[in-house]
Amino acid sequence: MKILKYILPISAILLCSCNSYLEEDPKDRIPEDDAYYSSLSSLYLNGVASLYNYIGGYDDSQGLQGTGRGVYDLNTFTTDEAIMPTRGGDWYDGGFWQGLYLHNWGVDNYAIRATWEYLYKVVAMCDYSLIKIDDYGELHGISTVKAYRDEVRAIRVMYYYYLLDLFGNVPVVDEVEYNYQIGRKAVFEYLFNELQDCASGLSTSRSNSPGDYYGRITRPVAFFLLAKMALNAEVYDDDNWTDSSRPDGSNIYFTVGGKKLNAWQTCKAYCDSITALGYKLESNYESNFAVYNEGSVENIFTIPMNKTLYTNQMQYLFRSRHYNHGKAYGLGGENGSSATLEALNVFGYGTGSVDPRFDKCYYADTVRNLAGNVVTLDDGITPLVYHPREVALDVSTTSYEKTAGARMRKYAIDVNATKDGKLMENDIVLFRYADVLLMKCEAEVRAGESGQTEFDAVRNRVGASHREATLDNILAERQLELAWEGWRRQDLVRFGKFTRAYSFRPQLSGEANGYTTVFPIPSKVLSMNSHMTQNPGY
């Protein structure tokens, strides 16, 4: 025990001197202060530009488009636009795809949860960037940081816009406070005002072309979002979406340029502002989706793609085409996603008047390689033929198990693509001007005006025959023009048709009240966060 008496005080002295020994001195990462505060350019790089890394992605549910089981799939495979048929051993995936198609996705769907977490992750990163930008401004006593603030705020609004659209009554977290579920209408108003406020601080430059603003949120991108939000105001302004009544867009008012405008007028005003910035339709529809599509005058906002620089992937062509179809390009395929019967009908497939965009958007019938030769199955003899009308929820053990369904085309094949074709050079189109014209057309028709000029412009560009600009035709036109672009769910909800029955999809019991027009707040999030309540109906 004597010894202990000496050891303990000696130990105490040693303990203190040990504390510096136990300090960490990381070498493969750096303190965040160095990243944010060392210079204005590093503040921009790490505080602002860094956030654009999350717009695309390669992991499931990460990225606004290009990856599987995320925002895009929740907006596409839940609708009458696209289906992922179970093909024998393939694509059953524990009932995931059938669940989406049938609106029977459950409250604990991991893809819905991962999508929620992805969107809020970027929101939280934006909040953090804003804190760092403000600190920098204070530290150096400069106001240049306002432009940075505006850009980050605009990015954050875009992510909230997706959250609002998918989940309805979502919590609003900003750099100052955490607001639990203030109601969909309140979130919508906050977002609209916020984006209007920061749009003025953004550059008017094009975002889709290489240059100082490539891939960034610029004023036309913000205007596009404002137009979208105004067009969907009847949905977003509705706190109770299961009571079968909805506010009237003509009575929802916004202040635009000092003037009080209703939703339709607001949508039109922002569409016109985009036109005024020089956006127009490409004469050739396909130029927007070419391997090098950065020169498009029509694209507004894209996910930049470059196989050696960025990790962003485009997995949709890969997962749609048949294995041998991919192989014919020297790429891969997963033989999955297909057009629904409803989509085929809208395109007039198999009738005398097929829409000219069908062949631009889908592979159907006999498949040919880039040299025009017929692609064969593994036996080297049987031609690969897609059978669009054989599509069903489960085509297992039918003769069309591997060939049912028209497949996704849309983007030009990049023969130099890598990772089975998932790393391709074509920038992924998120927003484009044809949609602006269709939005304006719809706003006019909803306001009781004509809308025919814009409607004709979109149809004439591809040589489609004349149609009247009616609401039904507009919904069909949006399918024709914007197939595979991830808008269908939002469009159907706005047109009140999301919950209706269609091929292989009976309406769920109780769904008529519209509860499936928003996804459930993931039950795991609810279980970890007692401040939130579930959306009605779930």
Binding site: A49, Y110, A124, S523
Partner: protein
């Protein structure tokens, strides 16, 4: 076989063991032991100590890994067989006590700290003994590192006398004897014809499971020189192991060396020990077990076993996208080279007044290189990968000891100061788009593309500092007390939480030394022990998680150029601290009839608190959905019984029987608590392992879960009430509406129930050794009971929906199930008894000047397994918490047997 039959076999087996006899793993009470920092007579230790000496391991010279030597010999020790020749075994002492990865026991080789790979660097013949510490009073000596138990290895040292040379070697053949019973080519054709399904018939008849097999040739050589005099000794040993697996190209080569010397100086004032050991292990691995065996089993058997003569490449089936031509897959190269060099020195000073000071320093360097090439036949455009990981570990300590006997009082005190610093660094690069496979990974410039995320490097340098005091007190050889107090500081924790304090206390009563038992001659020794202690854990976590640090998160366009941006890639936790395990243990050792009967009983109950774990947290407010924090708690308890009998011990005949059985129980107590003012609670159901393969991506394919209030790793499944006709001659799984809400939903929290646990409730190990004159026989039997196995292999291969893209089991067409929903239909009893090996040895009578001993032996590994499990083998991962726990899912390494002939010569 029914579980009942199995149980009765166990009972018979145990009874058999109980009626026969031997020498036990339990340490003899008068031997001197080095336990961690303390050296003392075994009778003075208060904790349970298990020791295996080299001599006790019947097949020591024929095994290639020291871990194998321990299997089945220590109660509470689980050794999970790694599949294949190159795979590492997983080792658990008294089960899984942490949810992070810090569950591997601490390995100490001659004072050098390390992990299981350190153990792999030692040739089995160089091992003098294993000492296994499980009780808190002993493990708490290691404070931060002892929470998962300690395995100490002492290597063989030279001894006094003239120089001796010994050689042992073995030659073995491994061959597969059982694979899955899939449809053969004829069956495949006829099922397709019967059902009118068009198949791609290449006209061949190939058993791909056989095609990817090889006969594994194995050889081992070991040579040692040793000698010494009164003041010093030395030993130098070299070993070589060359072991082929039973799958094509599978190979592991291990060169080992072990040198040590010891010298007394200045009339014994200083004793100097030096040691150096090293190994270079090279292996050719199977890249992906599931891909390999899934492909071999499910690939179309009408395809040829050679390349297409026209195209010169392997024919593929594009529609079977989850598998590949198994013979093409065999061309994938995956080569490892793992080099380890460890040096250490100890100076022991015999100070005045019975003080002793030992200063120890060790430096260990490991370099691991992995090279992979995926040829264009299996990976579009080919892909090469090269990566290197380097670990440097520096350890230094000083131990001051004092021993004193005053009358009936005996004191033994110890003080320790220790510093440890590790450096982990490495890099890797991935290159794609090759025009030719000829370069493999040897010239990365042959690939055209280097993706940004394909190249990376890292650096990490955790530090530890420790101080300890320990006191033993014995009164009259009857009452023993041990107190120890250790404090550890780790650089991984937050500024105010770096230090952890880990005390322990234990006591023992040697009842057999009491006067009232002196007259009972049948009892040689009876010692009752109990103890309570704390141990820390920080092994499973990374450095740099407590500060706001940024790392590259991608490349972004900036102006007309590109730049790498930085971001914090995890939720930072400034308050991260030690995970603490508190263990209570009690037990007794009993030796009867001159050691003919040995009996040892241990009970332990430990609670892990402030459990380090990547908790799921709510997004928002957190940006990322996991947070490394100390919140939950877990309980482990168990009983370990070992018995040994030596019914016959004569000059001509020896028979000894040992058996040990451990009962383990684990319960996840809580995963919720407070984090910086916010209540955090992990989700109720969290999947641990899931199914993979065609049609199993995502969705309801989770099988084993972690659920609070349950043992770690429970099967949480929908209940299948039977097969239901689909109206077209096929069947689907009928799922019960367990929550009686009128609809069937197989989401978590809906129609699912807890159907069993993945980890065994009881583990059995038994060895029987018998000697008749110069012939000796050793048999090792192991078993595990009380757990279940999910037969995902059968779920996949019984699904006729996947035919003909994927081949099915031979019995699948008859049952005609057209469903792959994961239900409890394929949940099976996992009980098994495995006859691990039998060795027959013969000590050849010699009358030679040059040879002092010669022994020949024959070993057969994996004799037989008794089990009711319908899959290939019940010996799957039932102990490590990872994505394969409890699930048999198309990773079926064929059952194989190894026959080995060994020679042992002393010159």
């Amino acid at each position: 076989m029914k579980a009942k039959n199995l149980l009765s076999i166990i009972v018979v087996l145990l009874a058999f063991c109980l009626t026969l006899s031997g020498q036990n793993a339990t340490v003899k009470s008068n031997s001197v032991l080095t336990l961690g920092y303390a050296t003392d007579s075994a009778k003075n230790f208060t904790g349970s100590i298990e020791k295996i000496t080299g001599k006790q391991i019947g097949n020591k010279d024929q095994i290639s890994s020291p871990i194998e030597a321990m299997r089945g010999r220590i109660p509470g020790l689980t050794v999970q067989h790694g599949n294949g020749s190159a795979a590492l075994d997983a080792v658990r002492l008294r089960g899984t006590t942490s949810l992070t990865t810090g569950n591997d026991p601490l390995i100490i080789v001659d004072g050098v700290f390390g992990d299981l790979s350190l153990l792999e660097s030692v040739y089995p013949s160089d091992i003098e003994s294993f000492t296994i510490l499980k009780d808190a009073s002993e493990t708490s000596q290691y404070g931060s590192r002892g929470a998962a138990g300690v395995i100490e290895v002492t290597t063989v040292k030279g001894s006094k006398g003239k120089t001796r040379v010994s050689y042992n070697g073995s030659f073995g053949i491994a061959s597969a004897y059982k694979t899955l019973d899939m449809l053969n080519a004829d069956g495949f054709r006829s099922v397709a014809t019967e059902r009118g399904i068009s198949i791609l018939d290449k006209g061949y008849s190939t058993d791909f499971q056989k095609e990817i097999e090889q006969t594994g040739i194995q050889q081992q050589h070991h040579i040692a020189f040793s000698g010494g005099n009164d003041d010093g000794n030395y030993r130098v040993a070299l070993g070589f192991i060359d072991k082929q697996g039973v799958i094509l190209h599978e190979l592991r080569r291990n060169f080992t060396s072990n040198m040590n010397m010891s010298q007394s100086l200045f009339d014994g004032f200083v004793k100097c020990d030096l040691g150096l050991f090293g190994s270079i292990m090279k292996s050719h691995n199977l890249v992906d077990y599931q891909k390999t065996f899934y492909s071999a089993e499910a690939f179309n058997p009408t395809f040829p076993n050679h390349k297409n003569t026209e195209s010169g490449s392997w024919d593929q089936i594009t529609e079977a996208s989850q598998i590949t031509n198994p013979l093409a897959w065999m061309e994938v190269k995956d080569h490892d080279a793992n080099s380890l060099l460890s040096t250490h020195a100890r100076l022991t000073f015999a100070l005045p007044l019975d003080f002793k000071l030992a200063i120890f320093g060790a430096y260990t360097y490991t370099d691991y290189e992995n090279s992979q090439y995926l040829p264009t036949a299996v990976w579009a455009h080919g892909q090469a990968y090269k990566g290197n990981k380097r670990t440097e570990s520096m350890l230094g300590n000083a131990v001051l000891t004092y021993k004193k006997t005053v009358g009936k009082h005996y004191f033994d005190a110890l003080a320790l100061a220790e510093l440890q610093k590790d450096i982990y660094s490495g890099f890797c690069t991935t290159v794609t788009n090759f025009n030719t496979d000829e370069f493999g990974y040897n010239n990365l410039q042959a690939g055209a593309l280097r993706l940004w995320e394909g190249t990376r490097s890292y650096y990490e340098d955790p530090h530890l500092a420790s101080f300890m005091g320990r006191l033993n007190y014995t009164y009259n050889d009857r009452y023993l007390f041990t107190f120890s107090a250790r404090t550890d500081g780790s650089s991984k924790f937050g500024a105010n939480h770096k230090w952890g304090f880990f005390p322990s206390a234990s006591a023992a009563w040697v009842v057999s030394n009491e006067p009232f038992l002196r007259g009972v001659t049948a009892i040689d020794n009876l010692k009752i022990r109990t103890g309570y202690g704390f141990a820390g854990n920080q092994n499973g976590i990374d450095s740099y998680t407590t500060a706001n640090l940024v790392q590259p998160n991608g490349v972004v366009p900036i102006g007309s150029t590109y730049a790498v941006s930085l971001a914090n890639l995890l939720n930072t936790n400034h308050d991260l601290k030690w995970e603490v395990k508190r263990t209570f243990n009690a037990g007794f050792d009993l030796s009867l009839l001159n050691g003919e009967v040995l009996f040892s009983f241990n009970y332990y109950n430990s609670k892990t608190k402030d459990m380090l774990y990547l908790y799921d947290v709510s997004v928002p407010p957190f940006p990322y959905n996991t947070l490394l924090a100390n919140i939950g708690s877990m309980r482990n308890s168990g009983t370990e019984i070992s018995v040994g009998f030596t019914p016959i011990r004569t000059n001509d005949i020896d028979l000894s029987i040992n058996a040990n059985v451990s009962f383990q129980h684990n319960k996840l107590l809580s995963l919720s608590g407070e984090f910086s003012g916010e209540q955090i609670s992990a989700p109720e159901y969290k999947a641990i392992s899931s199914l993979n393969g065609a049609g199993f991506h995502g969705g309801y394919n989770h099988i084993v879960y972690q659920i609070v209030g349950q043992p770690l790793g429970v099967f949480y499944l929908p209940h299948c009430t039977g097969l239901k006709s689909d109206g077209n001659g096929g069947y689907t799984y009928q799922i019960a509406d367990l929550n009686n809400d009128g609809k069937v939903s197989i989401e978590d929290g809906e129609d699912r129930y807890i159907a069993g646990q993945a980890m065994p409730k009881a583990i059995l190990g038994s060895n029987i050794s018998f000697r008749y004159k110069r012939i000796d026989v050793a048999l090792q039997i192991n078993g595990a009971f009380g757990h279940k196995i999910y037969n995902g292999t059968s779920l996949s291969y019984m699904n006729m929906n996947s035919f003909p893209e994927y081949n099915v089991l031979r019995k699948a067409p008859e049952q005609n199930i057209k469903d792959q929903t994961a239900t409890d239909y394929w949940l099976e009893n996992g009980d098994y008894v495995n006859f691990d090996y039998i060795t027959v040895g013969w000590r050849v009578p010699l009358h030679s000047r040059y040879f002092t001993a010669l022994r020949l032996s024959l070993t057969v590994n994996n004799l037989a397994t008794i089990s009711g499990y319908s899959g290939l083998t019940p010996m799957i991962n039932s102990s490590s918490v990872n994505s394969t726990l409890g699930v048999d899912d198309k990773r079926n390494y064929p059952l194989s047997r190894t026959y080995t002939i060994g020679v042992n010569v002393n010159f």
